[in-house]
């Protein structure tokens, strides 16, 4: 049993932290408030060049081959400074990993290096639809075989990075007669494909620099080689890969929670009321103690899930537990941090307000807390029946 990071993992953590402090932190508030994504995209490019887009991807495809634990600690460090950058990293890594897991050799060679190198600013994961959120198997986007390819029609919703993604992993129904979840296939659709339309950008509560758009398919024609994995086997791929993404989002939540509590704790040691530092009041000490305890528990859950995945062991339940707990703990940490700052915490002059908005989506995307509980309960009950 060794709970210490390896020297390599520590160095990756240090590099992520150094980069985040020097490059992300100074522009995070400005990106939150403004419309100009230029510094955001420039930093994504730099992060790609440093190898952060394919942490758990093989070297031969341009990845860093650093493993899942390194991915988790890097996500946390990036998220401490900029959650929008972190979520883009998480999705990019997930896209690379799904192609690596189920793509053909040609697909791997064609696309993974372009995301890892930053040639593509991002990759997108197009699963959710307006009527298929927590229940993606209810999707209606269709792909119909036509000559030497497929024609896609339908609409996807809440697609991260859509306006600047170079590649979309798209799920569509290919067999309408098959039982639910059995007739779905997965396609790799390049940006600029005819009939692929980037729709309206959502106006979100937080994570503003990261674009979230509607994606429309209007007789979008893709070649037969766009099919990834076997026909009608796509849903299994989605379910499998989402578990890895949950480690990413849990780690992201942890980063936001830590940023909020570190800011608020420093504030509490400087702010005086009633003639003493407010950190001297036991009521606030308990808030600090509880929050950091929860964040530490979240970290250990994440490390455990990442370790299991890295070892090639089943990790679905652990990833769900970590995602559930870390993202809920992050929201509680932001709530506590706001409370510690009092009225200042509610203003935009202090970053805790941004952390609070950025954290909120974490219990929703990549599977809501309720879906995580469903998965965890199912896994537990399985062993009792």
């Amino acid at each position: 049993m060794d709970l210490d990071l390896t020297a390599e993992q520590k160095l990756i953590q240090e590099t992520a932290r150094d980069f985040a402090r020097a490059e992300l932190e100074p522009v995070a508030a400005q990106l939150d408030q403004g419309d100009d994504r230029t510094p955001f995209l420039a930093n994504l490019k730099k992060l790609a060049e440093l190898g952060f887009m394919g942490l758990n991807v093989k070297e031969c495809y341009g990845g860093s081959e650093a493993g899942v634990i390194a991915f988790s600690v890097a996500m946390t460090e990036i998220a401490r400074s900029c959650a929008s950058t972190a979520v883009t990293l998480s999705v990019n890594n997930m896209v690379c990993e799904v192609i690596q897991a189920v793509g053909s050799e040609e697909q791997k060679r064609a696309y993974i290096p372009r995301i890892c190198s930053g040639d593509y600013a991002a990759g997108s994961f197009a699963l959710t639809e307006s009527g298929a959120g927590s229940d993606p198997s209810g999707m209606t986007t269709q792909a119909v075989a036509d000559g030497d390819g497929f024609v896609l029609n339908g609409a996807k919703l809440f697609i991260t990075s859509a306006p600047y993604a170079g590649l979309f992993v798209v799920w569509a129904v290919t067999d309408r007669e098959a039982p639910k979840g059995k007739g779905i296939s997965c396609f790799l659709v390049e940006a600029g494909s005819p009939g692929l339309i980037i729709g309206r950008e959502e106006k979100k509560m937080g994570q503003h620099a990261s674009a979230t758009n509607e994606l429309l398919f209007d007789n979008c024609r893709v070649p037969a080689t766009a099919l990834m994995g076997r026909l009608n086997d796509g849903f299994r791929i989605a379910v499998g890969e989402l578990a890895g993404g949950r480690i990413g989002i849990g780690s992201l939540g942890l980063g936001i929670g830590l940023a909020a509590m570190e800011y608020a704790t420093r504030y509490a040691t400087q702010r005086s009321q009633f003639g003493q530092k407010i950190s001297g009041f036991q009521a606030l000490q308990w808030i600090i103690a509880d929050s950091f305890t929860e964040l530490e528990a979240a970290r250990l859950l994440l490390m455990n899930a990442a370790f299991k995945k890295e070892q090639g062991k089943p990790f679905g339940k652990e990833a769900s537990m970590a995602k559930l707990y870390a993202t809920e703990a992050a929201n509680r940490a932001c709530y506590a941090a706001t409370q510690l700052l009092g009225g200042y915490g509610y203003t935009r002059d202090f970053p805790v307000e941004r952390y609070t908005r950025d954290a909120r989506i974490c219990t929703i995307y990549e599977g809501t807390s309720e879906i995580q509980r469903l998965i965890i309960a199912r896994e537990i009950l399985r062993t009792f029946s």
């Binding site: 932190e25 100074p26 522009v27 400005q30 420093r266 400087q270 002059d349």
Partner: protein, 303 residues
């Protein structure tokens, strides 16, 4: 105790900081002799033995030959210690002399204690007291830590020569980048430190400088990051200043910075960290988020 002081010439001029060596020796209670690689035309006002080597022959920077000159003077004087300023000249030369004497060196002394010499460490956050354990020792003193002492009079000159070649050739000086301003004459300086967080916050600091009728200064990290041009840099590698009011915004207070501003008449420091070393020299430390406090102060001054 006998101390051999090693002064400095730059571009033909005796540097004023040389007089700080006398201030140190005075506090140490040591008899002094002085070594200079310089010229007759600019001699220190002081009575004592001056070992003088000609800079025209040995250069203002030629550490190999200067080391030989120092070692020879030490031998002639039977000096117990050799004292340099902790400057680009001193810290370069001192260890060579220490190696030659097989003597301990204590670097960047800021004070004299009964048990030994006080030096800063951990970026100015802590202090060490160091005691040399060799019969003779080499000391460098922090710029500005000891008062300049100008005893007056004229020295007795002993000409120094040394033979030998050098593996190192001094090619000349490069002037500092054009200074837009002379901070040394400013009555008020408002300095931006690393704590301002980003380049975009420089105008906040500049606005306060304007409201106070002063100039904008900058610490080294801010200049290195390209947020403010070098001409604004305060510290040992920038300008040494002593305005009536010095306002340090988000300056942690590295030793090199403190050395360049601690003689200011009144120092106001604004910092989030109450423990930051700038607090040691500040007459007034405001513990606050400078992004909140500075605009508020500027607005109040504008009224």
């Amino acid at each position: 105790m006998k101390a051999l002081l090693v002064g400095e010439y730059r571009e033909g001029n005796l540097l004023d900081t040389t007089y700080e060596l006398f201030g140190f020796a005075d506090q140490l209670g040591a008899e002094t002799a002085l070594l200079l690689v310089g010229s007759d035309s600019r001699l220190p006002a002081w009575v004592g033995t001056l070992y003088l080597a000609d800079a025209a022959q040995y250069g203002e920077y030629n550490p190999e030959l200067h080391t030989q000159l120092v070692l020879e003077a030490v031998a002639r004087e039977s000096a117990d210690c050799v004292v340099f300023l902790h400057s680009s000249y001193g810290w370069d030369l001192a260890p060579r002399v220490a190696a030659g004497l097989k003597a301990a060196q204590v670097s960047e002394i800021i004070g004299i204690r009964e048990e030994g010499f006080e030096v800063g460490c951990c970026n100015g956050k802590m202090r060490r007291t160091v005691k040399p354990a060799t019969p003779s020792c080499v000391l460098t003193i922090q710029a500005g830590a000891f008062p300049q002492l100008q005893p007056g009079g004229s020295p007795t000159i002993i000409r120094m020569e040394t033979a030998g070649s050098s593996s190192l050739e001094f090619m000349g000086y490069e002037p500092a980048e054009a200074k837009e301003l002379n901070l040394t004459r400013a009555e008020v300086i408002v300095t931006a430190g690393r704590g301002i967080g980003k380049k975009e916050n420089v105008p906040l600091i500049a606005a306060l400088a304007k409201a106070l009728g002063g100039e904008l200064g900058a610490s080294r990290p801010v200049v290195d990051a390209g947020w403010v041009p070098h001409g604004h840099q305060v510290g040992t590698t920038g300008q040494s200043v002593s305005p009536k009011l010095y306002v340090a915004c988000g300056v942690s207070g590295a030793i090199q910075h403190l050395a360049g501003m601690k003689k200011s008449e009144f120092i106001l420091a604004i910092n989030k960290d109450k423990e930051a070393p700038i607090g040691e020299v500040a007459d007034l430390l405001v513990v606050a988020d400078l992004l909140q406090f500075v605009p508020a102060l500027t607005a109040r001054l504008a009224k």
